[in-house]
Every structure is written in C-alpha cells, then in structure tokens.
C-alpha cells in the first residue's frame, strides 16, 4: 500500500510557544488540529476547539453517581423489605437511615468508575497504535517537547503550504507524518 500522509507536525519547546502556534494555526483557518504535550497545558484544548463530546464527562459521572445511589438504595430496600424481611423487635423494615452508608459507597463507586472508564472511553483509549507515533522524535512528546499536528483530513491541508506555514511559527522542526 502506498504510504499516505496523516498530517504535518511541528515541534515546539515550551508551553507558551505551542499556545501561540495553536492560536495562529486556528486563525489561519485550519480546523483539524491536534496538540500533543508532556503535561496538561491550560487553554490549549479550548484553542484547538472543543466539541460537545469534550464536555460530556461531568454529566456521565453525575448520572453514574445517581444510578449508584438509586441502585444501592434500591438493592437495600428490595433485600430488606421484599426478598428477605427480618423482623427485629418490630422495627420498621425500611430503616432508611441505616441504609445511608452502603448507598453512599455505591454512589461513590459508580461515579468514580464512570470517571475513569468514561475518560478513557471518550479519549478513544486503549488504542495501542496511532499514526502520530510515526512522527519524527515523537518519543519526546511525553518528555519535554510540544507537538502541533495539522491533519491531512483538514480541508485546507496542502503538504507544501501547510509545511511552509508551520515553519513560520518558530518551530524546532517541521515534518510529515505517514499514516
């Protein structure tokens, strides 16, 4: 198979440089842009462009928490009132105050599970391979370099012009990434 191009990548040295470059790239009209950084750079995701999927996570976690609460309490109610009622000195079967700890733990467990699973799932992980790993010196993206990639899927992408544009951005290197 003939090698196709995934995108054009530029390498930067610092947080401020990549923030700057991302801003300029967006201003230039590129939309399929992604940045890869060794540590979270605040504001970068917003510049590159968030969509509805990126703001979904807190809702997923909240709903999972509610489900954990309802599920946990519901289980206690069903077991103690319907399935296995124990009459202890005529005390009420639905002694809800004493059901709080378990319902609470179920809430936390479900919400925390959703926070982890949801985060990885929305991120499309686990995914052992990704074309960006073909980028030159990309092994430093987890250490001390900041990479900005304009993907070939972008309507405005043209390998020559995009490379020319990226090299105006004060990058350490600009190179093509094979798919």
């Amino acid at each position: 198979m003939a090698s196709t191009i995934y995108g054009m990548v530029a390498e930067f040295k610092s947080e401020s440089q990549i923030l700057n470059a991302a801003k300029k790239t967006k201003a230039e009209g590129y939309n399929r842009v992604e940045a890869y950084t060794p540590l979270p750079v605040h504001g970068l995701a917003e510049i590159i462009g968030l969509d509805i999927k990126d703001t979904l996570l807190p809702w997923i976690i909240f709903l999972a928490g509610v489900a954990g609460l309802v599920g946990g309490f519901g289980m206690e109610w069903w077991v103690s009132v319907i399935e296995y009622p124990l009459n202890v000195g005529g005390r009420p079967l639905l002694s809800w105050v004493q059901f709080i700890p378990v319902a609470y733990e179920c809430t936390i467990l479900a919400a925390a599970g959703a926070a982890v699973v949801g985060m990885f799932a929305l991120n499309g992980l686990p995914r052992p391979h990704h074309p960006i790993f073909n980028a030159k010196r990309f092994e430093r993206a987890s250490n001390d370099r900041f990479f900005l990639c304009i993907e070939a899927a972008d309507a405005k992408f043209d390998s020559k012009r995009t490379a020319a544009f990226l090299s105006t951005l004060d990058a350490l290197s600009v190179s093509e990434v094979e798919d």
């Binding site: 590159i48 936390i108 925390a112 982890v116 985060m119 992980l125 020559k160």
Partner: protein
Amino acid sequence: METELSQEEKKALLQIASPSQHFVEGEKNYEIVTEQIGSMVLNQKKHGIPWFVAFFIGFVLLNVLMASVGWLLYKGVGVWGINIPSAWGADIINFVWWIGIGHAGTLISAILLLARQQWRNSINRFAEAMTLFAVMCAGLYPLLHTGRPWVAYWLFPYPNILGAWPQFRSPLLWDVFAVSTYMTVSAMFWFVGLVPDLALLRDRTSNKVVRFILGIAALGWRGSAKHWYRYEISYLILAGLSAPLVLSVHTIVSFDFAVSQIPGWHTTIFPPYFVAGAVYAGFAMVLILMIPIRAWYNLKDLITMKHIDWMAKIMLTTGLIVFYGYIMENFIGLYSGNKYEMAIVYNRWCGPYRVAYWGLIFCNGLAPQILWFPKVRANVKWLWASSLVVSIGMWLERYVIIPVSLTRDFLPSSWGYYTPSFWDWAMFLGTIGLFTFLIFLFTRFLPIINIFEVKDLLHRERGHHAHDGDNEQPLEQAKVPVLAEK
C-alpha cells in the same frame, strides 16, 4: 538538642524558615526531572544495597505472614488470642491501624489537590501507593477473622442457594462496602495518575520487552490536548469523590464500635477522632518511608525539607485533634453520670491495661509536641523517631479501645483479660513484611514520583526556565521543500 548543628541541619533550618514557596530545588528542567525519576525504573542498577536490605527484610517477614496465615487456616482462629469476652483482638486492632495509615495517601492526593496545595505533586504517587498496600494489609484481617475466608464472598449481596442476604443495618457490612470501595477507588485514582508517566517511560526505554509491557499499561496514551482536557476533569472529579470517601471510610470503621452499646465505644466523638487519628498515623508512615528513600535515591531536591516540614506540621495538627479527642472522651465519660462509662475511664487510667493507656497518651499526646520546634522538624533523625513513636501510639490507641472495653463491660462475671498470642504478633510482623515488600517492589518498578505533575510544579515555579537551554540543533527543514508560494 544542645549539640552543635551540623551543616546540613543549618541548611534545613534555613529552608524551613524561608518564606519561599518553592518545592523543586536545584538545577532542573523537564529532561532532568524525567531522568531523575524515570531512571529509577529504567536503570535497574540504581538500586543498591539499601534496597536489597529493605526488600530482604520485607521478604523474610512476608514468609512469616504466609506461615501464620497457613497455620491459621489449618487450625482456625483459635490460634489467635481472641476468646469470649474479647472476640475481637489484635486482628481488628491491626485492621484499624493499617486502614488508618492508608488515609494519608488519599488525603495528600485528593484533599490537598482540591485545596490547590501544589506541593503535594512530589509526594502523592508514593503516598497513594502506600494507601493501596496498607489497605491490602488491612483487608487481610477481617477476611481471615471470618474463619473461613474461602467463603468471604458471602459478605456481598448476591442471589444464592442459601436464600440469605446480608444485613444492611450492620456496621460490619457497611465496612465491607466502605473498604472495598476505598480499595477500588484508590487503585483507579493511582492508575489514572500513572498512565502519562507509563507512556513517558514507554517512549524512553530502549528495551523492547519493557516497552511492550509499558505500552500495554499506558493504554496508548499520547498526550493529546483534548485527552489532557478530559483527563484533568476526570482527575479533579475523582479527587472530589475520594475526599468524602476517605472521610466516610474511617467514619464507618468507627461505627463498628460506636453503633454498639459497649461502654467506651458508644460515643459520638468516634468518627471525627478516628479520621484525625488515621491521617495522623498515615503522615507518620509517609515520613517513616520517605525520609530514608529520599536520601537513598538522591531525591532531596524534589522531596525537599519544606515538604518534610509541612508534613510534620500536618502530623502535629492532627495529633492535637486526636489528643483533644482523648480529653473529651474522658470528660464525657466522667460527666455522663453513667457508672459504666465512668468505670471505663477509671479502668483505662488504673486498670489492668493502664500501661497501654499511658503509653498511648505519651506517644500520641505528649511526645509529638516536640514538633513545635523548628529544630526538630529540620532534623530528619528526630522527625523519623517521632513518626515511629506516633505509629506505636496509634497502635496502642486501638489496643486501648478494643480489649479494654470488651473485657470490662456491664457484668463483672463476664470480665476477662486479653493477651495477643504468638501468632497474633507473627501475623502483625507479617503484614509489616507484606507492606515493606510491596513498597520496595513499587520503588523499583514504577516511578515513585509523579513525573508530569512535578513538571507542572516546575512550570508554575519557574515558567520559561523550566525548559532546556538553546543547545538544540538548528531548525530542521521540512521533508518537502518549502516554496515561497503566494
């Protein structure tokens, strides 16, 4: 304390006293931080004699644990010193002790994160690992105390042919849910924190097998900006969930006692003072482990004297809360007008276990007061010794709570005396072995400091200077010729 201060102590004192908010010292950039921490995993030659000695001790004691568990399973729980009236003994003492130690990890990683205490970035990974291992040690005890741990799954609610369900009104069942949730959430929190660092080591290693294993563990993390965005949301919410969780866990552990009617147990002060005691014991354990490890692995510029000092201050603060708890316990006991409660206070002071009680007051109440002195906090040897004293004190606290009340309840005819047996001690030593064994395996095979968070800390403290100098090769040309097109 009258001796001449050494050069190092003087430096430490100056560091503690300085108003600077810097928690990363020395010449640092991202590459240096990566190398300093990552090489502990990638360069196995860095682990010298101290590691082997500590690991060997852990390994030997782990075998003691296996022998004592084996003997216990063969003979039954009768090999422990427990009997009526003291059906709970060293097993529950050690359970509470271990689970308390775990709490400092979550406090450091979650509560300090929410409080924007960025200095925690250098110590949270280690403290979280400590949490996990301490909860593992803790979990062993109730499991074995059931007598038939192979049917421990009966504790969980599931449809079964016995037609029986757990009793949701029992604090012991709350404990099952609290501890298993705590273990699960702590493990997930720890793993989420590890993923970017595993990806870093995956990219850095030259060994193919190591890269393959790390590649699987890192889940293909590539540091995309959108991934980081969701990662941070997830991490923050996890911290927000863990913070009340950690408070609930020891609260529920204290309910095991407080919900019963035994004098000395039936008291509302238990939840807050158990939680404070847990954090107290946990910080003591963090210091016990971190003081030698930062010296062995040259991590003194990442885990600075300022970190040590602040941890000591948190230890002192929670210690004061615990001490206040002891005072109130006595006050309420005497003020209650209830003769059983008054008797238990008298029993603690002058009864058969008085040595343990006054030992506890000394270890937890009086001895740690030396931490008020900056000179003590600047001296790691003194600090290490005080942390050890606190750990002993916290064990004595649980000892005083459990057998003293159980063996001196309402009816003098049912009184007794509790002595831990040989196997109780063997198993306690054994769990210390398991803990040490796991801690040193962790030290060797995973990055013990959160690398990307330390970089974040470095970036906050030094801004642009966190990057390496201009010794880079000149701008590389693109593969395609750059044309001066319009």
